[in-house]
Structure formats: structure tokens, C-alpha cells
């Protein structure tokens, strides 16, 4: 089963220590054979909306920063509990904030 783990942006830039710990965590997940892909996301982003025939493209940043995704990891594990366990470890590293886990179908 694949799960997409997304962490919501906090608006704070990560410091060097966090970078190092994240690097170690990613290495660990890679070595465990569960991490398929990972990346950080530009907090600004671009919004594309459609209404009827009208398509609107708006460049960020947007006001509700907490709703935007700061990074993601795609993991392949045998159960939801494993994904949750990985998320738990991740949260312990990054401190306060929020992550979301979605199972990826297909």
C-alpha cells in the first residue's frame, strides 16, 4: 500500500539542525526500503481555478498559509499503522504542526 504523507507549512524556515535530522530520517526510511519519493514544496505555489470556460491562474503566496503543503513523502508499507508510525517519527523531529496521510490508490 502506498501512502502520501504531507506536512502542512508552518511558515517558519527550518534551521540547520532540523535539516540534518530530516536528512537522517530520510536516509533511514530509504534504507528500510519504504520511501519511494520525497520533496519539499514552494510555499507560494500557483493556484489554477476554473469557472465555466474561464480558467484563472493566480500566483501565490496565499493568505491561509496553514492550508498549504510544505513537503511530501510517498511511502510504500504493508499497513496504515506503519505509515502512521513513520509519521509519528517525523512529527517528533519537526515539532509542532500537522501532517496528513492519504492512501494512494491505483
Amino acid at each position: 500500500m502506498r501512502y502520501l504523507m504531507m506536512q502542512m507549512a508552518t511558515g517558519q524556515a527550518p534551521d540547520e539542525k532540523l535539516f540534518a535530522e530530516m536528512g537522517k530520517f530520510i536516509e533511514e526510511m530509504t534504507a528500510a526500503g519504504v520511501l519511494l519519493a520525497t520533496g519539499g514544496l514552494d510555499p507560494a505555489g500557483t493556484r489554477v481555478t476554473s469557472e465555466g470556460d474561464e480558467i484563472t491562474v493566480t500566483d501565490g503566496p496565499f493568505t491561509e498559509a496553514k492550508e498549504s503543503v510544505g513537503g511530501f513523502a510517498l511511502v510504500e508499507v504493508q499497513s496504515k499503522e506503519e505509515a502512521v508510525e513513520l509519521a509519528r517519527r517525523f512529527r517528533r523531529i519537526v515539532g509542532d504542526g500537522e501532517s496528513r496521510i492519504h492512501q494512494v490508490f491505483g
Binding site: 536516509e27 530509504t30 534504507a31 528500510a32 526500503g33 519504504v34 519511494l36 519519493a37 510517498l74 510504500e76 508499507v77 504493508q78 499497513s79 499503522e81 506503519e82 502512521v84 508510525e85 513513520l86 517528533r92 491505483g106
Partner: protein, 648 residues
Amino acid sequence: MTDVRRTVDAVWKLESANLVGGLTRLVRDVGLAEELAQDALVAALEQWPSSGVPDNPAAWLMTTAKRRAIDHLRRTERLERRHEQLARELAQPRDVEHDDVLRLMFLSCHPVLATEQRVALTLRLVGGLSAAEIARAFLTTEQQVAQRIAAAKQTLAGVPIELPEGAAVAERLSSVLGVVYLIFNEGYSATAGDDLMRPGLCQEALRLGRLLAELAPDEAEVHGLVALMEIQASRAAARTGPRGEPVQLHEQDRGRWDPLLIRRGFTAMLRARDLGGPPGPYVLQAAIAVCHAQARTAADTDWRRIAVLYDALVRLLPTPIVRLNRAVAVGRAHGPAAGLALADELLADRALRDYHLLPSVRGDLLAELGRNAEARVEFARAATLAKNAAERDFLLRRADELGPVAPVATLGRAAADFLARDDLDASTLRSYGQTLRRLCLALGDRRPLESLTGDDVTGVFEVAWGDAAAKTWNRHRSAVRSFGAWAGRPELGDGLERRAESRSRVPGLADDQLSRLWTVEAPVRERTLWRLLHESAAGVRPVLSLNVEDLDLAERRARAGARWVTWRSGTARLLPELLGGRTRGPLFLADRRPGPARMRPAADLCPDTGRGRLSYERAEYLFKQATRALDPAGRGFTLRQLWSARGA
């Protein structure tokens, strides 16, 4: 409670390899290490529901397991100062060494173990799967898996746990890679059952491969294997159609191939290529997979390049399967006639005798050449041989697509009618049945009887019984002649010469074969039996009939019925280990207790363990398996040869 149970399961799955690997280094016994890890798991299940899941569950499990290790060592006093050292290490929060898991993989894939033991143990120790999960994946019973694992751990008890060095690394690594790929293949092309794939196994193999790529990053073949598995796995969704039928590579919807896995495969391939050196078998197979993945449509496939890669692969790995795949590639690159010529060469290979893909490939090539009637017979034959329901249906449909069935008498029908006669006694019927079943399997039971020639029959005989004893050959020969006479085709058996049934003595083993035999890694029971047979002048049966209480260890002799069996130092050295403190019962014990349905006389059972006496057949089989590599003909030796080598 259930939530904690599931969290514990998840932690176990992620951490068991580290845990068991680290403990193995500390206690130097993989069986004990796993027991300790399991104990810690049980403790977690007991404590976490009330205390809550600890912040770092992995470290908690490791600490708990180490405490138990110290208790255990203190209790058994096996190693005096070992527990003090352990106690010191206990102070460090987490000390999984980089090599722990790698060492564990080398151990669980150790060449002293039988292949199915390696697979079970790897999934158990490195994959963290339970015996029930492994049994489900391999369609066997939990008990059987548990036995395999127990036997494997017992064998490993005396094996040093150090990582191999120098030239041994490549050899041992190839055993590890072989096991991982075997697991992958079992998942990818489920050999039996109703499903074509068991995704859980594929995923587990991929996980093991990715893990190995981090542990042994400098080995090109590791990355080759990972690339191969990633790319093959990328096609998983496209491999089956709506009805669960297999979709062949060139007919797959490439839009359903997983681009992420393909990209990961390419990346692994680049890592392999960057390491340089001549490409090994996995790198070559991965290169072939890359060729397929790079083609945007099936028609774009660079078959010439694939054929060249197969030429190289066949030199490294001349297995029948690789040769068969090469025939397919050559068929695409240079036309069906060229492919068919290569496929036909394989008809005489007994390894492919019952392999459904050979007739299936020949069916494809024949159909391309417009030889539909022959293709039809081949597909029907492939369907008979296929063990997988989805595949069988698919092959039958392919046969049916090649035009209507002409109302002809088929081999299968004729054989059934022949055997349905009521003037044959049971044993003749059984014997004839064997012969005709083999003919039907090899030639296809839809094969029109009319088209059958004496050469066809002779060919089947050569492959099936070419090296069988003269007696066996003659028995099958008379069955065919009887069938031919009955069917009005007496010429079918014409190509079969009657073989002289001589009573010549089997040549004993040569000196160099003997000296190599003594270095074969085998369980102590086998080694003792072989030594004893060689050193005594007694036959196999008297030796197998020995009981522990018959032995006179000091005089190096034992009474077997009316005569004495005597031995020399080789046996004397091994006997105490084999006995292991037993004082009664059969000397050579079978691996297990006999099932309730097949009770045996009390004299053939070990009074302590309930295990049965080792049978001649089993002992012979094991010896044959063990000596395959020593026999130039590749068949393995018989115990009689060992015994008669004595005078040589």
C-alpha cells in the same frame, strides 16, 4: 487494545531486521536473537496498553531484548564475561550497527541452508513476516514454515556470524540476491493458485532489495537486481486484464505502467553502470527490462538490442528459461523461424519437460508462421501444463482462437479409451497410465492421433526416460507398444529399442569424488551416515536399521541382526554429535514425527522425540541432492555407490 496491537505490529515490521540483526551480533546466535526479540515484542504487547506507546518504540524493544539477553546468559552461564560486556552496551541508547542487517541477510541466505529454508528465514528475520504470513504467501501450512525456520536456525547454530570477506563476498551476496529475486518472482508470477500475482511478496522483495542497495552500495549486481525488480513491478497493473487473464508484455497498456517505479529502476541501473566492471546476470536482465520500458509502444521495442543482451546473458546464465526467453527475443528480432529453431532446441531439455511456457512460446511462433493446427496443439498442451487457473483459461482461449476443432481422434481421447478397457489388471493399468500420461503431457492431449509419428514418441522417451534404468525403459516401451497395437498404429513404438537389463555393478565413487564429498556441507546425520556406509562393509539397509542401544562406541562396532557393522575414526568423530545424549531408539532419525495416518512400529520411533526412522528412500534422495554438484552427469550418486567405493 487492538490499536496497540497494530502499532506493535507496525513497529515490528519496520524494526525487526535491526533488532534481530543487532541482537545476533551481541549473542552470536541467530535463533536465540530472534527468540529474545520475540520476547521483547510480547513484553510490549503486555505493557504498552497501560503505559502507552513509548516515544522511541524501537529503542524500547532493543533495551528490553538486551536485558533478557543478559538474564539468559547469566542463567545458562554459557559465556562468563559476555553478559558484563552486554550490560555495558545496554547503557548506550541505540547501537544498531550499519552491518547488522547485512550480516543477518548473509546468515539467513547461508549456503548451508536449503533454498526454501533461506526464503522462509529471510522473510521471517529480515522481513518480519510471521510464519502464518509466509505460509499464506507460499500456499503451504504454517506448521511446515515453522519447521523449516526451526531447522534452519538449528543448522545456523554452529555457523560463524562474521561477514564474509574477499572473494567469498560475491558468492555469498549472489545467494542473497537469488533469494530476494526468488521471493519477487514467486509474487510476480505466482506458480500456483488462482491469482497471477501476490503483490505482498513482490513488495517485500522490493523492500529487501532497496534495503540491500543501501547496505552494499558498491555492488553493481545489487543495483541491477533492484532495477530489474522496480521495472518489472512497474508493469504490475498492466499485466492482468479485466477478467484476471495475463496480458503479455507487447500487448500491455503502457499508460498503466508506473512511471515512478520505472524512473527508480533507471536510477538504480545508472548506479549499477557507474560502478563499472563487466555486467553480471542481474545487470543484464535489468538492461533488457530497461529496453522494454524505454519503448513508447510495443512496436518501438528495440528487439535487436534485446537479442544481443540475451546472447550475453545466455553466456553467463545458460539456464533453459533464459534460453527460452532468448528464443522469443530472436523470434522478434530476426523472424519467427529463427526463434522457433532456438525454441525447438529446448524440446530435448528435461528441465523444461513440464514447463508450460515452452509450448506456449512455440505456439506463438508457429501461429506467426501460419502453422495454426500445430500452434493449436501447443497452446492446448501449455494449458494442460499450466498450474495457474488464470493462465490456463487464457491458453485455452488462444487455442480456440486458432480456428475450429476438426473432429479428429486426439491422443488424449485415445489414451483415455485405451485405459478404460476392463481387461487390464490394476497394476498394469497403473503402469500403462504413467506412460500415457507422460506422452499426453509431452505431446499435448489435443494432438490428433493421426499426426503422431514414431519419432515423436522416441523423442519423448529420450527426454523422459533416456537415462532411466533399462527395466524402467522397457516397461514404458511395452506400454507404448501395447497402446500402438490397440490403436492400430503399431509403428509408434518402432523407434524404441529394447534395452538389455544387465546386472552390472554400479561403479563406486572415485577417490577425488570421495574427498570432495567429505567437504560437502550437510547436516550431521547425513555426514555420519555417509561416513559409516563408507567405512563399514555393511549395506544401506543394515546401517539404517541400527539402534542407539546397539552401538559399542568404544569398540567402534554395532550389532545389526546377525552381523557386526564396524567403523573407523571418521564415523567415531561424528557419532557423539549425532547422538546428542540419546540412549535408545533408531540411530538415524527422520526429520519429523510420522503423521497420525501413517503410524509405524514402535521400534522405528525414537522414544524421546517420537521421530521416525530415516527411510532408505529419503536417505537416498538426500544423498542424490547433496552430490549433484560432484557428479559430472549432474544426477547425483546413490548410497550403494558410496558403500561399494570402499574397496576402490
